[in-house]
Amino acid sequence: MTTTAPCTPDELMTVNAARALAGARTCFVGIGLPSTAANLARRTARPDLVLIYESGTLGSKPTRLPLSIGDGELADTADAVVSVPEMFNYWLQAGRIDVGFLGAAQIDRHANINTTVVDRGPDKPEGRLPGAGGAPEIAANCGEVLIVLRHSPRNFVRRLDFTTTVGHGSGPGDRERLGLRGKGPTAVITDLGVLRPDPATAELVLTELHPGVSAEQVRAATGWELKTADSIGTTAPPTPEELATLRALKAA
């Protein structure tokens, strides 16, 4: 199917996030955008993808998008339900899970994440975000990490107000030095395109643009001097099937 269907930037983001799971067997799924993308992947690019939610479900097969990580259907459709400590210790920490799929409030050039507090300026108290949740250990213990969030200078920042979750730390070798398993973040999928770490510097560079988006737009939406890959690709437009499936998921 090569027909281009009209779609929103959020849909471009979600469809491409789902495609990023094409090679994954098991995915530890954060709620929100990652969960939408992972559920779409299970209906399109990766029908046998094993969805793992931190509430304790291994192999959930929800028929509609869960509102929270603890929706009953996640348990009812799972291959196994385990306790939360077992999930974090036996399944996540032991390095059994291929992909950790995270959102973020702030991200920096080395794909480190802040979900704790934001600086609101002098004489103002810190702004409160929800906190770490499972992210620090998901990023530390999965085979690789995918991150999905909307692109804006508020989100893609020169310097995090707080480091909740380490991506690539301050550069190459930092994960090893810190004793973190796996490759760390391998792609950041946004509503404008895809950033990936440069192997030499572990700094996020623009590697793909969504159809109709310019590199200049992405640079303007990034709080640091975003570098671009030697050759920037364009993501394939969503197929009608992908879009129809995503819209049906969100409507259900």
């Binding site: 929270s68 974090f88 409160r128 499972g134 992210a135």
Partner: protein
């Protein structure tokens, strides 16, 4: 052998939870003990340290009611909706009182309960490395493996004065069974000095269920029958999650006066029986 464990919700809360206690009301979206929290609000039990991996609307209500001095947690939001406005208002603006926080990751909190339930002073995990979380708490440290020399994170055990959970069933002896997503409830209960369980139903016999977690009566301090006591969360087999309530909470909780009016109408002046419905 022991005194009967079955109490009214009023009496169980009055007997087990006191001003200044450290209280864990656990539940991972499922089986959240809302009715017990509302009874705490009605009785005005205050200066609490609240503990929970995922403080959500139930803690937003307790914090907004001014009963909480400290929150120990790892993710504080309205799941699937957004911020907890009462929590934010307390942290950011000290309203209605300042709120101290001891903040962790999920893996850290889960292991803190495991250590507490195991009678150990700490637990070891691969976590927190490189995160600034450890810089804001004195309950994360490091240990070295005596065999490999590797450095690992250590977290201090959590041992609440009281843990409150909601379960589907208890029998007349006070044996409790919950099933579905059982989260960290067993660990939270076994880590606590006292354990209060509200249940959908008291039955003659507990039939073993797939995924069932059983707490024998001798590990439980008191049981209160409170049908619907998890609303707006749910009890698998008894109710479904009231997602509309969670969505609506965003607007209710955003404004201080709206919140106070809601609290007064829906919690404070209601009787225990009416509130449980």
């Amino acid at each position: 052998m022991a005194a009967p464990k079955i109490r009214t919700l009023h009496d169980a809360v009055a007997e087990l939870i006191h001003d200044g206690d450290t209280v864990a009301m656990e539940g991972f979206t499922h089986l959240i003990p809302f009715a017990a929290a509302h009874e705490v609000i009605r009785q005005g039990i205050t200066d609490l340290t609240l503990v929970r991996m995922t403080p959500d609307v139930i803690y937003d209500q307790l914090i907004g009611a001014g009963l909480v001095r400290k929150l120990v947690f790892s993710w504080g939001g309205n799941p699937g909706v957004g911020s907890l406005h009462r929590f934010r208002d307390a942290v950011e603006n000290g309203w209605p009182r300042p709120l101290e926080v001891d903040e962790h990751s999920h893996a850290g909190m889960a292991n803190r309960y495991v250590a507490g339930a195991s009678g150990l002073p700490f637990a070891v995990l691969r976590g927190y490395r490189g995160s600034e979380i450890a810089s804001r708490t004195d309950t994360v440290s490091t240990v070295f493996c005596p065999f490999t020399g590797e450095e690992l994170a250590a977290v201090a055990a959590l041992n609440p004065d009281v843990t409150v959970i909601h379960a589907q069933q208890a029998d007349r002896e006070g044996n409790v069974q919950l099933w579905g997503l059982t989260g960290v409830q067993k660990e939270a209960a076994l880590a606590a000095e006292r354990v209060l369980v509200t249940v959908e139903e008291i039955t003659d016999e507990l039939r073993p269920r797939p995924g069932g977690v059983v707490l024998p009566s001798w590990a439980v301090t008191a049981v209160a029958e409170v049908p619907g006591g998890a609303h707006p969360s749910y009890a698998a087999g008894y109710s479904v999650r009231d997602n509309d309530f969670y969505q609506a909470w965003d607007a209710v909780s955003r404004d201080r006066d709206t919140f106070r009016t809601w609290l007064n109408e829906h919690v404070s002046v209601r009787t225990e029986e009416a509130a449980a419905r």
